[in-house]
Symmetry: C2
Subunit: 132 residues, 2 copies
DNA sequence: CGGCATCCAAAGCGATACTG
DNA sequence: CAGTATCGCTTTGGATGCCG
């Protein structure tokens, strides 16, 4: 886990919120967890497709520290760990859907051509999670 | 303006939206413009309080390229330039308000102690802009 | 006044190797 | 299996100086 030398500062509420669920990985991560919870580390990594362990572990830890995601460890052999949303995490879904809806309305359709884009988008933030 | 070596990719609609209005400066910038438009470059810089010209000019240019902010130049002496939201930019305000509302509900009250935080938050995303 | 060009420090992030 | 430690490259962004 990287340690900042200069502490972060927030100047508006949006800054604060985006520190929790914004950035390079966390929107997609939340999208996948919301649709597939509880989900194991390896499956999460596969669905992220191009994330490193470093980035995945760090992102998950940040989401846990923010109380958005919970981690459940089964002390089996081999080890099994499952991630899912907390109640607070669930409250984020309508917010993400609002952002998603804006993006769909206000973008050129060309951005939807990437296959991963479509898949994840449809699964997660278009429809609310449908109970798996 | 920095040129990326590795092109950006988006995997979900939220990624796409946050590329437009997320990041370190743009939420606050939009907040200030929404409340004070049209607003001049220098005043914008003062209200941002700790932004460099490099970061401010780059952020403004990105917002212009995304069609969120418009620039109006008066060829007076000395030069005057004013920034304001486009119609598309206005559609972002409810989205930002939604994010802001979530942050207020789901955060410890301690984060509101910074004076800048309160000021900007109240002016911009709580109430819709009130016509100045 | 409203920027842009250059340079450099800080932060983000992947690859690899390793651990419980 | 589910991560962590270290390293180095990529990217961000502030300081300074310059220009129309």
């Amino acid at each position: 886990m990287y340690q900042r030398k200069i502490p972060k500062e927030f100047y508006c509420t949006v800054d604060y919120a985006l520190d929790i669920f914004g950035g390079k990985w966390k929107p997609r991560l939340l999208c996948i967890i919301a649709n597939d919870e509880p989900i194991r580390y390896q499956k999460l990594k596969e669905q992220m497709e191009n994330i490193s362990d470093t980035a995945l572990a760090d992102s998950l830890k940040e989401l846990q520290n923010a109380g958005i995601v919970k981690r459940h460890q089964f002390n089996e052999m081999p080890l099994r760990v499952e991630y899912s949303l907390t109640a607070k995490g669930e409250t984020l879904i309508p917010v993400l859907n609002k952002i998603s809806a804006w993006a769909i309305q206000n973008s050129s359709s060309s951005i939807y051509q990437g296959k991963h884009f479509k898949q994840i988008h449809q699964k997660a933030f278009q429809t609310k999670k449908n109970g798996d």
